[in-house]
């Protein structure tokens, strides 16, 4: 991409081509509507809702908790109420007004300590706390992650660039029922005196899943896995 002098007027680059996959998505969707499997209106409602979702509310929840012990306790005692304070209503935000069939309304915040590290997986199908964290990343949905995280958590975490000492308990939370988990990591060094906004910036999506730990110098997730798995092997 070149730096031209007319940078104010240069349009953002766009993919100027329709891929076979893009056409396939449209074709499948339109056939479904034609057959009455769902309506365009239902589909639009979901798309609009999905566009509102992202990891920011969960990041803010953690940042608030780091700064306020009472709010941190609320996160533990009443996560639905705690979510409301970051603008997320687990009960009425979504198109169905009672939680989606996939997300339900029972968020739980898993609080890390210096000797307890949580990491979230859904072995059965990749359930994820979408209302407060947005869409799950692709790697989270793969059998490679789902089958191996419960069995070889330390191996998988090291492939994600995270290694923890033996005396730290790694607790894998397998969200197999109606609860959806968000990890509240330990506040990192080098963040004294930071505002809520500054703290929220370093709580990335991967920190909220538990495969990364927040750092004062990092505002974006690394590409994962850091080291691709070839064979699962014992450590």
């Amino acid at each position: 991409m070149s730096n031209s002098h007319d940078h104010d007027h240069k349009a953002a680059p766009m993919v100027d081509e329709v891929s076979d996959f893009e056409a396939l998505e449209v074709a499948v969707r339109e056939l479904c509507i034609e057959k009455g499997l769902f309506t365009q209106a239902d589909h639009n409602e979901w798309t609009e809702y999905m566009h509102t979702l992202g990891p920011t509310p969960a990041a803010r929840l953690v940042a608030k908790a780091w700064l306020d012990e009472d709010y941190k306790q609320l996160c533990i005692d009443d996560p639905v109420k705690a979510s409301l304070e970051v603008g997320i209503n687990w009960i009425t935000s979504m198109p169905s007004n009672f939680g989606t069939p996939s997300d339900y309304c029972n968020p739980r915040i898993l609080v890390d300590t210096p000797t307890l590290k949580h990491v979230v997986v859904c072995t059965l199908c990749s359930c994820y706390p979408r209302p407060i964290l947005g869409q799950s990343p692709e790697w989270y949905r793969t059998p490679n992650y789902r089958r191996r995280m419960v069995r070889w958590p330390r191996q998988v975490l090291s492939e994600f660039g995270l290694q923890l000492p033996e005396d730290v308990e790694i607790r894998v939370a397998d969200s197999n029922q109606k609860t959806r988990y968000v990890v509240m990591p330990v506040r990192p060094e080098g963040t004294d005196g930071w505002t809520e906004d500054q703290l929220a910036e370093i709580v990335t999506r991967d920190c909220l899943i538990g495969v990364a730990m927040p750092r004062a110098d990092r505002k974006a997730d690394d590409k994962r896995p850091v080291i691709p798995a070839i064979h699962p092997y014992g450590h």
Binding site: V80, W90, I91, T92, S96, N97, F98, G99, P101, Y104, C105, N106, R108, T123, L124, V150, R151, P153, R154, E166, D167, V168, E169, I170, R171, V172, A173, D174, S175, N176, Q177, K178, T179, G234, H235
Partner: protein, 117 residues
Amino acid sequence: MSSSHHVEKATNVGDPQCFKGEAPPAKFKVGDRVRIRNLPDIFYTRSQMYLREAEATVVKLVYESPPAEDEAWDNTDSPEWFYSLLFKQSDLWPDYPKKFEADTLETELSERWLEAL
């Protein structure tokens, strides 16, 4: 799995909130040690195979709900208590490295899957 069967009940209340108070009194309490029963799966289960016959500690009574095995057939008549259970990884996997003895796994099961130790 249809979600329409309890739409009215759950709208603006939430699921599993809408089943609050409907289960029989909880059989287990926090701190109880349990074993996971190896019930036969007919068609559908949300009780992972790797948990069967393992021992665990009840760490939280999380909510009341029809068990997934019933809900899959639109049967919401008999909610049960759901428990969050803590397992030692070394109890789940025979070759889990000894030096990581502290590692654990937490997951939820409905009451029918548990028997007292």
